[in-house]
Structure formats: C-alpha cells, structure tokens
Amino acid sequence: MAAVILQATGLAKAFGGLKAVDGVDFALRAGEIHALIGPNGAGKTTFVSLLSGRIAPDAGRIELGEEDITALPAHARVRKGIAYTFQITSIYPRLSVFDNVALAVQSQGARDLRAGVAEALGRVGMESLVSQEAGTLSYGHQRLLELAMGLALKPRVLILDEPTQGLAAGEIDGFVALVRGLVSETTVLMIEHNMEVVMDLAQRITVLNFGQVLAQGTPAEIRANPAVQAAYLGTGDAAA
C-alpha cells in the first residue's frame, strides 16, 4: 500500500449547533485519485476547507506526510503543497491569463516565470490565450485556468471542489483525461457530483453523510455498499 500523504484524525467543525463535520478520520494515499461524495449538506466542502486551512477545526488533527499542519494557516499549507481549486471559479478577472498563472508559478519561487506559465497552460491546452484578460474567457476556459493555477503550484495534494460543475459533456471528457494524467506527479482529492466522472476516475471513494464517514472503498465496493445505496444512491442505480 502506498504511503499516506494527507491524514485527518477526529476532525470536527460545528457552525452554531450544526455539526458540519463530525469526527472524520480520513487518509489520502500518495498518488491516488480519491473522490469525496455525499448528498448536499453532507459536509464535503467544509471538510476540504478544513484540510486546506480555509477554516479552523474545533477538534482533530491534520498531518501532511509526517508533519502536523493543524495549526498552519491556509497560505502556509499551500506552500507546503496543498493546492485548492474553488468550487465557484475564483480567478483574477481583470488580470491577464499570464498574470493569473504567473501568480501561482512565482508562489513556488520559480526562476523562470515564462517557462512555468507556458508549461501550466500547455497542460490545459490554453497556450494561445496567454495574453487575454481572464474575465473575458469562456466559462470552460476559466475552469481550466483555475486548474492550471492549481497545477502551477506543483502541489503534493490537489484538492478539486466540484471541478466539472457547469462544464459541457465534451469539456468533461477532456477534463477526465487531464486529471488521469496527473497521477504520476500528484495526489488528487476531489469533491464531485457527476457519478460517471467519479466512477471513471477515482481509485477510492469516501462517502460523507451528516458530517460523518458513511463508507470508504473502491468504486466497486461503494456501489455494492447497502448503506450508501440507502443514503445516497437511492435505488443503487442513480449513477446511470
């Protein structure tokens, strides 16, 4: 079994009286593509926000590799190698595509900005748009730009929050191929609602429900899990 790269132990966060994340234990193995699924309000976004440091946990512990990062602020975690791409596209609309990606590249202290930007844009096939103002890009390109910024951080763990939301069918295929190609260099944790994408891409799946881990396993195991079927997949055939 591959080494664990990111581990959460007893992670909890409540908003008012609502336990959004309630004692979650979770381990992400190096090099895998791991999907986080669950019904709306299951605490998925809260959970990855805790991992990325955007919000602070009430209890629990987060380790990156051997290091306890629970107390680190978000920007420091990014520097340690946890990249987060936003659910709602979050780019710099009034800056050029180059500047958007360059901000990610220079965050890693790279010497050669141009090369770094070109490489990241090449990965998502957007080299020709380098001088365009980001806000004028199509929605699909903005999503890809967001991904390029995540890649340019050269993360050890890449967290994707609903990356295919709002993409057309053709764009989704391209996206799936792109993420599959990342396996050799990074570990991917993604929240995803599109079950086809999940079953296609993920090596392992974690199902959250009411802030707790309902099940964990390979796509086949999850599909076969009666508790998941009851809570989430309904008849067990919702993926189709």
């Binding site: 990325s52 978000a74 920007h75 990249a83 979050s90 710099y92 500047d99 901000l103 965050s107």
Partner: protein, 310 residues
Amino acid sequence: MKAWLFHLVALAGLAVLAAVLPAYHANNLARVLVLAVYATGYNLAFGYTGMLSLGHALFFGAGMFGAALPVTLWGWGGVPVLALGMLAGGVVAGAVGLLALRTKGVSFMIVTLMFAQAGYLTLIWFNAVTGGDQGLVLPGAARRVLGIDLTQDAPRLWLALGIYAVALLLAVALVRSRFGRIMLAMRENEERSRMLGYNPYAVKLKVLVVSGLYAGLAGAAYGLFFGYAGAGFATVQYSILPMLYSLLGGAGTALGPLIGAAAMFWLIDFVSSLTNAYLMLVGVALIVLVLFAPRGILGFVRERWLPWLP
C-alpha cells in the same frame, strides 16, 4: 521597455517645465511634486493593493514632525531629518497596519481614520512641543540639504523634482516586479491569493509600510522645503487629498497621482482667487469621480490606448 520610456519622457517634460515656468508657478510645481510623492505612495496602497486608507495624514504628519522636531529641539537639519521623517512615516504606518489590517473595507477605513484623528489630537495635546495649531516655523539654517539652499525657489524645485523622479521610478519598478503582481492580486481577489500561498496580512503590511515611507518623506520634505510644520497637515483633509489625487489621475497608475495633484492644485489655486469656499471643488470632484469616472484620467488612457501602462 515602453513603460520605462513613457515615464522617463514624462520626467523630462517636468524638467523642461521646471526650467521655463515663471517663479509663482515654479513654486507651485515644487509643492505639487512633493504632494505627488505623497500621493504616489498612497496609490501604492490604494490603487494597486486595494487598501482604502483614511489615515495617511498620520503618516504624512509623522514625517513632517519627525523632521521638524529634531530641527526645533536639537538644531538638526538637512538629510538626517529628511531620513528621520521618512522613517517616522514608515514606522507609524507599520504600527497602524499591525492593528488596522486585521480589518478590511469599511472597517479599515474607519479604523485608519480614528488612528489618524487620535494622532492629530496628540499633536494638539503636546502643543508645547509641536506648536499645536500654530505649528513650527523652521529656521533657514536647517533647510539645507546636500548643500542645496531650500529657501531659494529654483534649488528647491530641482530637489523636489529629483525626489519625485526617484519616488516615481521606484514605484514603477515595484509595481512591475513580482511583488507588484502580488499587490494587484490582493486588490483583485484576496481569498484566491491566500490559496495561492500568499499571506494577505503580510503583503498588505509591507505595502502599507512602503506607502508610509513615501508619506513620511513627503511630509518631511514639505516641512523642510517650505519652512513650516503644522498640525493642520495631519487632519483628515490630508488623508482625503492623496485619495482624490489618485482617483483623479487614475488609481493604480504610476503617473496618475502627479497628474491628479497638479490638476487639483491648479484648479484650487484658480478657484480660491474667486471665493473662499474653494474646497467645494474637492467635494464636487470626489462625487463626480466616483460616479462618472472611477478610473481617472490615466486609467481611461490605459483602457483606450495604452494597455501596457503600469
């Protein structure tokens, strides 16, 4: 390259003006240039980094009295007091920033306003030392910098131009650097920037200190160049003026603050010959700018013709 050329040509144009302007306007140009140094620093925080401060008068005042007090208390003068004033502006900006940058937007505006107000009242409170409302007149002996006699119009103007030139070119270099890109990133989308590994608090604090150094130097120069330091320069009005200059000339453009300062200065100069209510102009300009021209003069030029303008 184009960007550097643009600003060097602008500076050359200023040098020509400095050589040919009649005495009255040459003297005004010296004032405008010092105020432009102040506004250029303000614009680094406001136009480029998105920090709308209403407290910069405190940094300007700190610079002015940081230079004036050593003159009146210990008989210092020249470059050391200019440097002290600059340092005072930076230190005070850092201290204010440490607290105020825990807030954003409207709260940040009010917090900086309150700190500046407290600073102004402190100057009044210690009127035995600061001269309070009357202020301090600085003796001619202290007003020599590098052998330049600042009581004379022409040398004063050239030194003002020299300081502005350095201030402008450093600002251009800063905003074109990698750090300049991070400044823009903070202005455009702070949360995104955090998730690219940048600490917004630290970035903004650095910019505020730089901005405070500009304000401090400008305050010190204003005091030394024109021989007077007064608490009036630490009032709210002197926080609003650099904002107005930046808005008018173009927030987030390097040369904009100078253009705004010059336009406002000569407009006010003209109107004050007609009425004593010349500050009406400031009010009208603020409203017209936020309503109809939030990008300002150079912002408009950049949008239309010169997209590469820093």
